[in-house]
């Protein structure tokens, strides 16, 4: 057991598209598939609604990890939204990697409405990854630290 009482509890923001991933998260819930409470979900209509500024904003304000979930490529409710999201996030993540942010702090996962198991698994994995990376010190605003 760690002697440190202040166990690291990461702040994790999960953007989920309304049609697939949010429903996938609902299914994970109704199937009682647990994942850590550190994950908080924000509902967006589509993965393509997620502006890179939202992701940086989350980090600025103290998030330790940000994950974006959308419909599987080809299954977007709006037919093409996740394709744009895929390019945007690829480039954004690449830039974050380039400026020296540990590249496990961001992730994109396609989760369908039927994939409650995958949703829960993904979140468990992601939280574990953020635990291994520790607190986000490179991409936060110092003023927001407690």
């Amino acid at each position: 057991m760690s002697l440190n009482n202040e166990e690291f509890r990461p702040k994790i923001v999960a953007f989920c598209c309304n049609w697939c991933s949010y429903a996938g998260a609902d299914l994970a819930g109704s199937s009682r598939l647990a994942y850590p409470a550190d994950v908080k979900i924000i509902r967006v209509p589509c993965s393509c609604r997620v502006n890179p500024m939202f992701i940086l904003r989350a980090f600025e304000k103290g998030a330790d990890g940000v994950i974006l979930c959308g419909c599987h490529p080809g299954d977007c409710h709006y037919s093409t939204g996740n394709y744009y999201a895929r390019r945007r996030m690829t480039l954004l993540f690449s830039m974050l990697d380039y400026i020296g942010v540990e590249n496990g702090r961001t992730r994109v996962e396609w989760v369908s409405a039927a994939e409650g198991v995958k949703f829960s698994q993904t979140m468990n994995e992601f939280v574990e990854k953020i635990h291994s990376l520790g607190k986000n010190v490179r991409l936060g605003d110092l003023r927001c630290r407690n």
């Binding site: 890179p52 895929r86 996030m89 690829t90 690449s94 400026i99 020296g100 994109v108 936060g140």
Partner: protein
């Protein structure tokens, strides 16, 4: 330069254009400023030399709103920016009479100064007609010289070539001044460890004073109102209270111009703190080329930009961790 002036006079005289957008001789040997000329008399102060680095494309946004055509002098690399602005409906091609001016590489006076050349009274070797590859400075502290290439802007070392992408006529010869690999610096950073990368950018960005010079000269940053000045994102923090703000600003700025940035290098040219801002834009260009196929913004006016496009089998964002 004389050829340019006489042609400008002709175009003004025959009514083809209502004004000429070029450079006016400065009060120091190296500081000509972008200027409009409407009469033959004013054109006596017209100058075009190695110090005319400013990309005049962006000025055409305002000039497009004026009555009549504007003769605008564009260097080969400036024409990419102009094309991109046409694509985004920001300039009116019909309002521009584009004279593609020759370019043999543009100079960065800061580079000369870094070589210890100061108190400059006059410069020779920067004229366009002169093929000299040495710059000679008369200074208060005696005569100094350096090679032309030594004082060239970073962007000219990775010259995109001597072809103009759009023009009505060409005046003067151009030279491809490329003598370095465009992505070499980016590759060097990519090869660093995360900690080294972070340290590198922290050091560079800590110099940023958020003066917005990079944004305001950028022909791709042509928004009427920038998100960083807008209340819509609550991102208008203005000052560098915290080092995060520079990262946010530069990452988002680079992202907003990704796929639209022609790599004209104006951002790095104007940064008062000498931050190599092109390293952000060029990283995106390199990624786009590698992941979505070669793309040069401004090479044409019709193609879909890489961020407003996709293919069904694009790579997944996880490629970032796999590379």
């Amino acid at each position: 330069m004389q050829e340019l002036i006489s042609r400008a006079k002709e175009l003004l005289a025959d009514g083809t254009v209502a004004r000429v957008l070029g450079w006016r001789a400065g009060d120091l040997p190296y500081n000509p400023e972008p200027a409009y000329f409407t009469t033959a008399e004013e054109l006596e102060n017209f100058v075009y030399n190695g110090f005319c680095g400013a990309n005049l494309s962006k000025y055409m946004i305002e000039a497009s709103k004026l009555e009549g055509k504007t003769m605008v002098c564009l260097k080969p690399c400036d024409t990419y920016s102009f094309n991109q602005l046409i694509k985004e409906h920001r300039v009116d091609r019909e309002k521009a009479y584009i004279v593609g001016v020759g370019c043999k590489g543009k100079l960065d006076i800061e580079k000369a100064k870094k070589l210890g050349i100061k108190g400059i009274e006059s410069v020779s070797g920067a004229e366009m007609t002169n093929a000299a590859d040495t710059l000679t400075f008369q200074t208060i502290y005696g005569e100094k010289s350096c090679s032309y290439a030594e004082a060239m802007l970073e962007r000219c070392h990775v010259c995109k070539g001597k072809e103009h992408m759009v023009y009505d006529e060409l005046i003067g010869e151009s030279k491809d001044t490329k003598d370095a690999e465009r992505f070499a610096e980016v590759e060097k950073i990519e090869a660093m460890s995360p900690a080294e990368k972070f340290a590198f950018f922290q050091k560079e960005l800590s110099k940023c004073i958020r003066c917005n010079a990079c944004r305001n000269v950028c022909p791709a940053c042509s928004c009427r109102k920038c998100v960083f000045d807008s209340t819509k994102f609550d991102s208008a923090q203005k000052a560098n209270v915290d080092s995060f703000e520079e990262k946010m600003f530069h990452v988002i700025r680079a992202f907003h111009v990704a796929g639209r940035c022609t790599d004209c290098g104006e951002c790095s040219r104007v940064c008062p703190q000498g931050i190599p801002l092109h390293l952000f834009n060029r990283k995106y260009i390199k990624d786009i080329n590698e992941l979505y196929g070669e793309y040069q913004a401004g090479a044409d006016t019709e193609s879909r930009g890489p961020l407003t496009n996709f293919t069904f089998d694009d790579c997944e964002p996880s490629i970032v961790t796999q590379r």
